[in-house]
Amino acid sequence: MAYAEYEGLPNNGMYPVYWRGGEPLLGLGYGDHADFYQLGKETNSDLYFIDNLPSVSGFRFMEFRLDEGFIDFNYAPDLYDYYLLCTVAFPNGNFLPQVGLSALMSTDLNYSNTVYNPFVDDFYVYDHTDSDSRGFTVFAKFPNISVSNNTSLIGIALTAADNNTFIDAGVFYFDGLIIAVDKSVSSTSDALAEIILRLDDIDSDLVSGAAGIQSAIDTQMQHDQQLWNDTYDPDPDQAESDVGSVIDNYNTQLGQSLGLFDYVSSVTTDFVGMFTTSPGAPVLTFPSWSIVISGASYNVWAEYPVDLSVLLADFSELLAVVRFALVVVVWGAVIRYLWGVWDRIFGGGS
C-alpha cells in the first residue's frame, strides 16, 4: 500500500500533522453495480493539534474532496445511491472516535451543509481501537441532496463531537471512498452487503499500515532529534560522561608526568580510603606452604581462610562484651590524651 503525504506545519507548541492519503482501498473490487471514486484530501486551514484541545464544538478536523485530477464525478442522486466509506486511524493516538459527518455539496457556490448524527440509521461507525492504535471507519449513506447543477466537486468533512480531546494525535492515516450504487440494478443490496462484509479487513489493513507509518516516522524523528541533540543540545548525562572521561584521561597523563609524586598521592588516598569506606569481611587467611625438592614444588597445605563472622552466631554475647570493652578502652585513651593536652597547655606544668 503506497501513501501520498502532506506535511503539516510544525508550528511552535503544535504537533506536526502528517496527512496521508492512499491509493484506492485494497480488497474492494469494482463491481458491475457499484462504482468507486477515490476521494482527494484537503486539510482544514485551521487544523492545528495543540497538546490538548479541551473542549471543542463541532471541530472539523478533516475533509475529503472530489476534485480535479480525480475521477470525474457527477452527482446524480436520481440514478445512484451514494455511500461514503472512510477510515481514520490514529496510531498511538488518544482519540475518542465519536464523529459527525457533514456534506458540503458544491453547487455553483451554493453550499448545502448537512450534519449527520452518528447514532441514526445509515451512519455506521466501526471502532477498531486496539492497543497500538485508535481509529474508526465511517460508512454512511448520503441522503439525496438537491443540487442545481451536477458537479465534480464534493466535499465531506468529518467533525468531532463536543468534549473530544486530541492528545498526542501525532500521525493520521485516512482514506476515503465514494461508492455510487446504481439504483437500476436489482442486486444493490448484495453490493452493500459485500462492502460491509469487507469493512473489517479494510480496517485492519489500514490500521496495520498506519502503525507501520507511525513506527517509521517515530524512528526518523528520534533519529533527527538525536542528531539535533548531539549537535546543539547534548544530553547532560552523556556530556558529563564525556567530560568525565576526558578528565580521567588528563588525570592519567598528569599521573604519568608526575611519576613518584602521583604514586605517593595515590597510595595515601588508598590508605585513607580504607578507613572511610566500609571495611571488608573479617576473614583471617592462613597462608599456604609449599616446599621445593629437586626443583619440584610440593604444596604441603593450601591457603585456609577462616571467616570470623561465625562467632556472631555462637558467641554473640561474648563478642558484645569484647566490643564494648574495646570501645571503652579507645574512648578512655582519647579522653586521657585530651586531658594530657589540657594539662600541658593550661596546667602550668603541674
Binding site: 611519576g259 578507613f275 571488608g280 579507645v330
Partner: protein, 89 residues
C-alpha cells in the same frame, strides 16, 4: 561544541603536562605497596569485627583534630622563636 571545548582544553593542557617528567616508581615498589595495602585492608576487616569503627569514629576524629592543632601550633612557634627580631621565647 563540547568536542571543540575539549579540543581547546587539550591544546592548553598538553604543553603543561609535558613540563613535568618525574621518574616512575619501580614496578617492584608498586607490587610491594599493593601487597602491604591488601594486608592492611584484610587486617582492618578483622579489627573492625572486634572494634567497630562506627563506635570510635568520633574519638578518632577528635584525637586527630587535637593532635594536628597542637603540633601545628608547636611547629609555628618553633619557627617564630627562630626569628631574633620577634624576641619570642
Amino acid at each position: 561544541m563540547l568536542n571543540l571545548i575539549i579540543s581547546l582544553a587539550g591544546i592548553i593542557l598538553k604543553p603543561l603536562l609535558s613540563l613535568f617528567n618525574f621518574i616512575d616508581v619501580p614496578a617492584e615498589m608498586v607490587s610491594i605497596t599493593s601487597a602491604v595495602l591488601s594486608y592492611i585492608r584484610s587486617g582492618l576487616g578483622i579489627v573492625n569485627f572486634f572494634l567497630p569503627f562506627d563506635s570510635i569514629k568520633w574519638a578518632v576524629d577528635i584525637f586527630l583534630s587535637v593532635f594536628l592543632i597542637e603540633h601545628t601550633y608547636e611547629l609555628i612557634m618553633w619557627i617564630v622563636r627562630k626569628i631574633p627580631l620577634l624576641g619570642v621565647k
